[in-house]
Symmetry: C2
Subunit: 192 residues, 2 copies
């Protein structure tokens, strides 16, 4: 069965069919409902998660109980809390679905074994760490320096595809502004 994972992995590292089969068969495939939690804040991130289909979000809870989203992870991406995963320490963040999703899970011991047996797999981790998606520097700068309107425009430019799949309140939780402010500035833009 082709899961999309095959395509993903072949496009980044060259492996023979046997190796890929080995990797895939070490994973557990899971179907998730909308708004289902995969990793609860305070728990240890014990799996690597690859999103075959659907959309996940990684968020933290503020002091006032509100949700602040750090990442969206759509299909053909990974969702982990790297710190919690690598140190097997409690995570400060929660990972949950936005839509119904299909994911592949590798328990850490299993994935570690794969890394030993298929050294090329290490390339992936390196790429991931270096990738902008896991480097929040640019995002931090935008958050520090931009007005709500600029943040929104930036988001639309960066993730036009996500725009249609996300309720507005999640976009607001991602941008760090209130739903009210987001509605307001969208309305203002229409007029121009």
């Amino acid at each position: 069965m082709t899961t999309g994972f095959d395509t993903y992995i072949r496009s980044r590292i060259s492996l023979d069919d046997a190796a890929i089969e080995q990797i895939v068969s070490a994973a557990k495939a899971i179907s998730l409902q909308r708004n289902e939690t995969l990793l609860q804040q305070g728990q240890i991130c014990r799996h690597k998660v690859f999103i075959v289909k659907g959309l996940l979000r990684i968020y933290g809870i503020g002091a006032d109980g509100s949700e602040h989203i750090l990442h969206f992870a759509p299909e053909n991406n990974w969702a982990v809390d790297p710190q919690s995963y690598h140190q097997q320490s409690p995570s400060q963040f929660t990972i949950a679905t936005v839509e119904r999703s299909e994911v592949l899970l590798w328990a850490k011991p299993d994935f570690d074994r794969l890394l030993q047996e298929i050294p090329e797999l290490n390339m992936l981790s390196g790429q991931l760490v270096a990738s902008s998606h896991f480097n929040n520097r640019q995002r931090l700068f935008t958050t520090l320096s931009s007005t709500p309107e600029e943040k929104y425009e930036d988001f639309v430019r960066s993730y036009p595809d996500l725009l249609a799949r996300l309720p507005l309140h999640m976009i607001a939780a991602y941008l760090g502004i209130s739903l009210k402010t987001l509605t307001r500035l969208r309305h203002a833009q229409v007029r121009r």
Copy 2:
């Protein structure tokens, strides 16, 4: 001569004296005035910089021309724009001193050669990438979720030593609030 760099490097990787001497002699030692620019936004980050003494800041310029600080780098830390350095592409950020500082510089080709000749050096890069100082996730979350007052308290808790060395307007530029707001909340805290 002991520069503090010796101590730093010995505490993370074990190298013999010859190797350390080789590393140090590949560096150029520089003294910098207060508020002197090492890397200008738009330029390519051609060096690795180690701060022996003093304090640097890494910042970006917002659309309105204001300064937004991503990091402070005090003695015994590195200051680079990783992206610009590794890809030798123009940096979006500026690196400048806060105080008079003494730094060690390695031109990228020289450092690359060192990495080949002294493989243990690679460990350092790995540690750096993994270190919280270069992982902006926690910082991003605080910026998204906290009030100005909470951000300031968080800063005081995290970097009590820097507090005395930084003008308030730079702390404001780091927290993403105005100098006015910072003064106000400090004054309010005194009253309690």
